[in-house]
Structures are given as structure tokens and as C-alpha cells.
């Protein structure tokens, strides 16, 4: 089985890289992009039967820094 973890900066945490992407889109002529937030997607190959709880522990201990980041787990 696989799990896909989406890690994003929490609302309200400044995202300098997202801002730079927004500016670059504007420079390319894509007007009206109100905001860009950049995150990461982490794909995990896991033994069958791995629980979401185990993946949650992975997120809490390593994959996300919950001081500034939030995460969503997708079991696939």
C-alpha cells in the first residue's frame, strides 16, 4: 500500500517561496493570481495493513514541523 502525505504551511505563516511564484506568474502575464502557497507531497511505500495512526506518528515526529506546518494523509 501507499500513503501520500501533503504538507503545507499553516494559514497565516508567511510563504516567501509561494510569494515569489506569485510574482513570477504575474510577470508571465497571468493576472489576478491572488495568492500562491507552496507545499510538499511525500509518497510512502508501506507494508499492507499500515494504519493511518502510524502515518500520523510519522508526520508528527518527522514529516511535518507542526509549529508551522499542517499535514493531510491520503491512504492509497
Amino acid at each position: 500500500m501507499k500513503a501520500r502525505v501533503h504538507v503545507m504551511l499553516k494559514e497565516g505563516v508567511l510563504d516567501p517561496q509561494g510569494e515569489a511564484v506569485r510574482h513570477a506568474l504575474g510577470a508571465l502575464g497571468f493576472d489576478g493570481v491572488g495568492g500562491v502557497r507552496q507545499g510538499k507531497v511525500i509518497e510512502l511505500d508501506l507494508p499492507e495493513g499500515t494504519t493511518e495512526e502510524t502515518v500520523t506518528q510519522m508526520c508528527e515526529q518527522l514529516l511535518a514541523n507542526t509549529v508551522i506546518e499542517k499535514y493531510e494523509i491520503e491512504l492509497v
Binding site: V13, L14, P16, V67, I68
Partner: protein
């Protein structure tokens, strides 16, 4: 007085940090990241700058979960002293030994230059060698030194004297111009600027020397 300096794969300020401790009078032991135990009778642990584990995932995240860092956390929880500089500061935020987090500089640039710092709390074992409010010059060299704390945390840090240094001219977008913070007990200090690169006039500034001297002299006289 014994200082342990940790080396991770990708650390590059470990030797400079060892020299800074030695020149201030400490006996230095070097520790590899896979060592699960620290040498006996270590008084201070230094976590150096660099790019531990290639900055993969998040700066400092993988180092913070290495065997030696569990020993560092135990040492700090026993009231031991820890100094984390640059990548070492990032490691300390990832272990939660100091509050807040560090993200990419607001201007997205790697900043490498001497900066002015104001000593915000000169009543700690790290900073009592400086006058309160003194302005000193120490170099920075980082891409991810943008300190983040929400308003509540920021107010607490400022109110409780946990801000060690602020930038006189903020180079990275840090909240509250923060360049370095203490743990609640003031025995763990994380800072982005490199005091170990300013320990003698030949380096352009010797303003970092007092930090090492003060910390080590505290043990000699104790």
C-alpha cells in the same frame, strides 16, 4: 570545563566552533551524530552550522532525529547548556528545545555578511559578558534564517527575556527582528549569526569571543 561539538554529515562549522571553545579555555570533545551517548562530564554541547543531511525535508529536521540528538535533549532536560548556531539553531527548533521555527529568508536570498546585533538580554550565562543593549557585529550566512513565532509566542519571548539578540537591520524577515532565542531556563541558546566566526580581530570582528569566554568562565569560577 568540557564542551562537546557534534558533527553531522554536512556540518561545516564544527571545527571553527571547536576552536572557539578551545580558545576560550574549554576542553573540546568531538562527537559523531551516530553516537547515542555523549562523553562523560560534558558541560556544554555545541551544535554547529552547516547543511546537515543536505537540508533534506526541512533544515535540521533529520539531524534533530539522529541518535546523538536524543542525548542532547536529555542533557538539556537535566539543565545542561546547549549552544546551537545557524544550522544548529534550526536543529534546536526542530527538537523543540527552543521555541519557534525557521523558514526561507523573505527575500529568498542566501545572506552572507557581517550584521549588527543588539544584545537583548545580558543577564544570562551566555550573554553576561556584554552590556545590556550593546550593539555587536557578527557574521550571518544562511538561506533559512527567517524566524517564525506567532504573536502570542513573540509577546511571551519578548516579555520573558527569552530573546537573546535582535538584528539592527533585519536581513531575513525574522519576526521581531529575532536573531537568537533562549529556552525558558536560559541554558539553551539558538542563534543564526556565527559568533565562532568572530573570535579574533583578523576575522573582521572579535565580538563573538565574549559569548564563549563568559560561558566557559562561568564554569571555571563555579
Amino acid at each position: 570545563m568540557r564542551a562537546a561539538v557534534i558533527t553531522f554529515p554536512g556540518s561545516n562549522c564544527d571545527r571553527d566552533l571547536a576552536v572557539a571553545f578551545q580558545s576560550a579555555g574549554a576542553e573540546v570533545v568531538r562527537v559523531w551524530h551516530k553516537d547515542a551517548e555523549l562523553p562523560a562530564n560534558v558541560d556544554v554541547i555545541g551544535i554547529p552550522g552547516g547543511f546537515s543531511f543536505g537540508d533534506y525535508l526541512r533544515c535540521g529536521a533529520i539531524a534533530a532525529n539522529s541518535p546523538v540528538c536524543r542525548a542532547v535533549v536529555d542533557h538539556a532536560n537535566r539543565g545542561g547548556y546547549v549552544l546551537g548556531i545557524c544550522n544548529g539553531f534550526q536543529v534546536l527548533t526542530e527538537t523543540r528545545l527552543v521555541p519557534g521555527a525557521l523558514i526561507r529568508n523573505t527575500n529568498l536570498k542566501f545572506v552572507c555578511k557581517p550584521v549588527g546585533l543588539k544584545v537583548e538580554n545580558a543577564e544570562t550565562d551566555f550573554t553576561s559578558g556584554y552590556a545590556a543593549g550593546a550593539e555587536i557585529t557578527i557574521p550571518v550566512a544562511h538561506h533559512d534564517g527567517n524566524y517564525r513565532a506567532d504573536d502570542e509566542l513573540l509577546a511571551r519571548l519578548q516579555g520573558e527575556g527569552q530573546v537573546a539578540f535582535t538584528y539592527t537591520d533585519n536581513p531575513n524577515g525574522s519576526a521581531g527582528d529575532i536573531a537568537g532565542v533562549f529556552s525558558e531556563n536560559r541554558r539553551v541558546l539558538g542563534m543564526m549569526p556565527h559568533p565562532e566566526r568572530a573570535i579574533e580581530p583578523l576575522q573582521g570582528s572579535a565580538d563573538g569571543q565574549a559569548l564563549f569566554r563568559t560561558l566557559i568562565d562561568g564554569f571555571v569560577s563555579a
